[in-house]
């Protein structure tokens, strides 16, 4: 079963755009200067790129098999939900470990609460604080 030309064009465009976004995300991660800048590339550009590719795949199988399938949308939805959560945890980890940053990166660890820096640890539930 052959696809209509317009659908084929849309799928090709989405595939190339997805590849380009994934590449730009990884390029940002490899190239930028400190960790807080590097965090931007993979969390935004790569997520958008993989979303484009999964939508292209869904359109292709919709065109060839004649009925839509939500499996690809499930992966897209899952990735779009989990990417901000893992980015938040990675940023928290970097602040906790006091990763070096360049001068123009905004937001200093001094703006954080002491327990977020690990200076005054949050007490373990089983043990009292002394």
């Amino acid at each position: 079963m052959t696809l209509p030309v317009i659908l084929e064009g849309v799928i090709s465009l989405l595939l190339v755009a997805g590849g380009a976004f994934v590449f730009i995300g990884s390029l940002g991660m490899a190239h930028l200067r400190d960790f807080y800048m590097r965090l931007h590339g993979p969390t935004k550009a790569t997520t958008l790129g993989i979303g484009c590719m999964l939508v292209a795949s869904m359109l292709y199988f919709w065109g060839t098999e004649g009925k839509p399938d939500i499996q690809e949308m499930l992966i897209t939805l899952f990735l779009f939900i989990t990417a901000p959560v893992s980015a938040h945890l990675l940023a928290k980890t970097a602040l906790h470990l006091r990763i070096k940053h360049v001068e123009r990166t905004a937001g200093r660890p001094i703006e954080l609460r002491p327990e977020e820096l690990g200076e005054k640890p949050v007490p373990h539930p089983d043990r009292a604080h002394d």
């Binding site: 696809l3 084929e8 064009g9 799928i11 090709s12 465009l13 595939l15 190339v16 997805g18 590849g19 380009a20 994934v22 590449f23 995300g25 990884s26 390029l27 991660m29 490899a30 960790f35 590097r38 965090l39 590339g41 993979p42 790569t46 997520t47 790129g49 993989i50 590719m53 999964l54 292209a56 795949s57 292709y60 199988f61 060839t64 399938d69 499996q71 690809e72 499930l74 992966i75 899952f78 990735l79 989990t82 959560v85 893992s86 945890l89 990675l90 928290k92 980890t93 970097a94 906790h96 470990l97 990763i99 070096k100 373990h124 539930p125």
Partner: protein, 89 residues
């Protein structure tokens, strides 16, 4: 047309993987390497999707879903380990 787009996309994703390996090797700190691994599992999902398009089969999407879930869980686990020194308190 789709074939050309598929090969272009594959080449870009493989180049992205190579950049991830570069950051994984030189990354000065632990979170850098963790971020590289996090990006790498997302890129491997992209490779699996492209493989499914190339072979014209839907068999591999379950594998992609599994990689998405386990990758997220492992990132969260290593982050918790670095933050608190323990995974499940």
């Amino acid at each position: 047309m789709i074939e050309v787009a598929l090969w272009t996309s594959l080449a870009l994703v493989v180049a992205a993987m190579a950049l991830n390996v570069y950051r994984l090797t030189i990354g000065p700190d632990m979170p850098d390497r963790l971020l590289a691994l996090d990006t790498m599992y997302i890129n491997s999902i992209a490779l699996i999707v492209l493989l499914g398009l190339w072979l014209d089969t839907k068999t591999y999407f379950e594998a992609a879903l599994l990689i998405a879930m386990l990758g997220f869980i492992s990132t969260v686990a290593v982050c918790k380990y670095l933050l608190r020194g323990d995974i499940i308190e």
